[in-house]
Symmetry: C2
């Protein structure tokens, strides 16, 4: 049995390295050799982190897909239509597929899973979410029998690195982003990470597996970290917390078709919560189920070797199933409803810069009252002789009321600036 | 396909409850009904936490083992020879086995695994270690391809509850133990937990799976929490840490047959380490591998429903394999060598009560010097007008040197009391 590899970048090279070092040992443990048959690359002569045998390289997808000795295709091509059609071709050729492609899975998971089921092959994707953390297999196998109610976690290492820098070095988002780019923790175009879109892709996959539902990245309510300021960190610190970008999926057990709520948002996390101490590029995910209670998984969220380790776990599983002519069971997708945006509730921190004059607080407070938003705490800082910075921490209230409040505040002449709204993790 | 259940105590009743609530749904997801065929109990008329159909109950093991409709036996009998022979009989009758029996697995794992392999059936035991945390499956499947180097964690909820109480309420071990017994967190005979033996059983299982080795509970170096005092917590606090009972397995990657080191010991854990914030009856386990880096798993370490959830995961896996006529792969046991006790190294905290007189510190220090134990820090507290409490924190040194130091200190006339030696987690 041979393995075809599509793409040989950071993760692909690390996988070749792991198979070089350990393939023989693993093959003998499995009773089935783990051998690379073909590697699809764009450039035959590129210098790679780990040396790859020239004779395995090809620039033609067909040479991998049409090779009858290759029973398993590992797709590490990155986003794009080419990767999607490569996965579809591999499944159509009755090959099992291992992929780390969160972009594709977050929109095409159900159709690819159906295509795999039709030919009795697996599609595995442990590496698409949370790097080296074996989260997908835990949700898919170990927690198959659980009624899961909530998954909340830090699944984007780039934003977590930036937020950790802002928290510990008291720097601005722009400075922390620049550092992250210099150190290779953030890409030249950081928008996919900072906008929350990357976390939303991962959340869509997590929620689809955890709830046996059909969640597309477009179903996720997304707010990223653009606009988070050092002043927000100061407030979080005084409140006893830090700021994290969270991905959260929730489902009630009230009825079998209860709607699902999927959101990515920056939040104040209190210091005694285990998610508060997840630093740098690490990932951590909480999983809550009705029988098991609360579990946490954490580990490296990215990086060549940790991600390749997750790919290797999938390869081993897929090879075992191919040898046994079986495939991994998957919860059938139910029709999925989503919680109406307007009924989402939470605790929020709102901050505004106002003209520092008598009566201003009363005018601002009146807007909160008009929208039935109850204030748990207020703090005021003088910015200079003319401006003050106000932060309001609400009691539990509707997101729609917060939005209305912000819209109405923006029309007050005493308001100089509306800052980003933060949630508080409950 | 029917399931035979042996034992219907806390976990057994919770399992019956889960199957009652969810068995039909899970059966239809699996394409294979999950139905209890027979339940072995000691007393047919005992009142149980969850009502069990009388017609399923039996007091005869043979009625479960010899029932041809029962293809899977779930063993929840607790420690003892009867449980071992029940598992052996079930496997001999070609039934797959799910067990939560850490006592049996920590001494008989390899022979039971061989017996299962011989008849092409599974023996699964997710619930034997760390309650509801899906650790065993992660080690066995997700990390099958990893070269694991270290597993360290908190795997005994009773001692963790007691240590958390001592830390937060500043009470003695005896007071915390009494509270734990009243609240049902500790048994009437707490010795198995407090001596470290329970943690050692779990560690033997973890190390056997993680390293593909053969570790018996008798191979584990065990020190429990008897003798830990409020003064130790004061010192830990001043050092920036807390005290936890750790189970640790290590293996070097220097050679394929590098020796294994397995230990249970109370240790000072610095507050910024994630294990420091694991409170009460929760469990948490760190796993380090050469490719994946450092992972952490945490969750409820005990309790009926969380443990039954782990049993249910095993049932689902076993049923899937029975239907596919396959079994889960298992690393073949290598001959296992253990690190010689005398070569174990660490950082230690030693404390002694001494007569408060000039020259005493020099006499004590001389003993450290004689044994080549280098001191990183010393603290002295006056206990009363005549006695002082000394705590020494060492640099990295051999355990054998610490033992020699303690033995020689015990012979000094100025020493009034030797306290428990604590390790420091590195």
């Amino acid at each position: 049995m041979k393995i075809g590899l599509l793409g040989c970048g950071t993760v692909g090279s690390a996988l070749v390295q792991l198979l070089d070092a350990d393939g023989d040992r693993l093959g003998s443990l499995l009773g089935e050799p783990l051998e690379l048959g073909r590697i699809l690359v764009r450039d035959l002569h590129k210098v790679r982190a780990h040396e790859v045998p020239m004779k395995l390289l090809t620039t033609e997808l067909a040479e991998v897909i049409e090779d009858p000795e290759i029973e398993l295709v590992v797709e590490l091509l990155g986003p794009g239509e080419f990767a999607l059609s490569a996965i579809e071709s591999a499944l159509a050729s009755h090959k099992s597929v291992v992929t780390a492609n969160k972009e594709i899975l977050s929109t095409h998971f159900r159709e690819l899973e159906s295509a795999a089921a039709k030919v009795n092959r697996d599609i595995f994707f442990e590496a698409a979410v949370a790097g080296g953390i074996p989260l997908i297999r835990a949700l898919r196998v170990s927690l198959f029998g659980e009624r899961l109610t909530r998954i909340v976690g830090i699944v984007n290492g780039t934003t977590n690195y930036i937020l950790t820098q802002m928290q510990e070095e008291h720097v601005s988002l722009e400075t922390a982003l620049g550092d992250a780019q210099r150190l290779g923790y953030a890409e030249a175009d950081p928008h996919g990470d900072l906008s929350g879109r990357d976390a939303a892709s991962k959340l869509a996959i997590i929620a689809s597996i955890a709830f046996g539902s059909h969640v597309d990245v477009a179903d996720v309510q997304v707010d990223g970290i653009w606009g988070v300021t050092p002043a927000d960190f100061d407030f979080a610190r005084r409140s006893g917390g830090v700021i994290k970008l969270l991905a959260q999926a929730e489902r009630s057990l009230d009825s079998p078709d209860a709607p699902v709520r999927v959101e990515v948002f920056p939040a104040i996390v209190m210091s005694d919560h285990p998610l508060a101490s997840v630093r740098g590029s690490f990932n951590a995910v909480f999983v809550e189920g009705s029988a098991v209670g609360q579990l946490m998984f954490s580990g490296p969220g990215a990086g060549g070797l940790p991600t390749a380790s997750a790919v290797l776990a999938d390869i081993i599983d897929a090879v075992t199933n191919l040898r046994n002519a079986t495939r991994a069971p998957m919860r059938v997708a139910q029709g999925t409803r989503f919680v109406d945006d307007s009924s989402i509730e939470g605790v929020f921190a709102l901050s505004v810069d106002v003209i520092d004059a008598p009566g201003v607080l009363s005018r601002v407070s009146e807007v909160f009252g008009r929208n039935l938003v109850s204030i748990a705490r207020m703090e005021q800082d003088e910015l200079d002789s003319e401006l003050a910075h106000l932060v309001f921490l609400t009691h539990r209230t509707r997101l729609s009321s917060i939005r209305a409040t912000m819209a109405q505040l923006s029309e007050l002449s005493v308001i100089q600036r509306l800052h980003k709204v933060l949630r508080v993790l409950e």
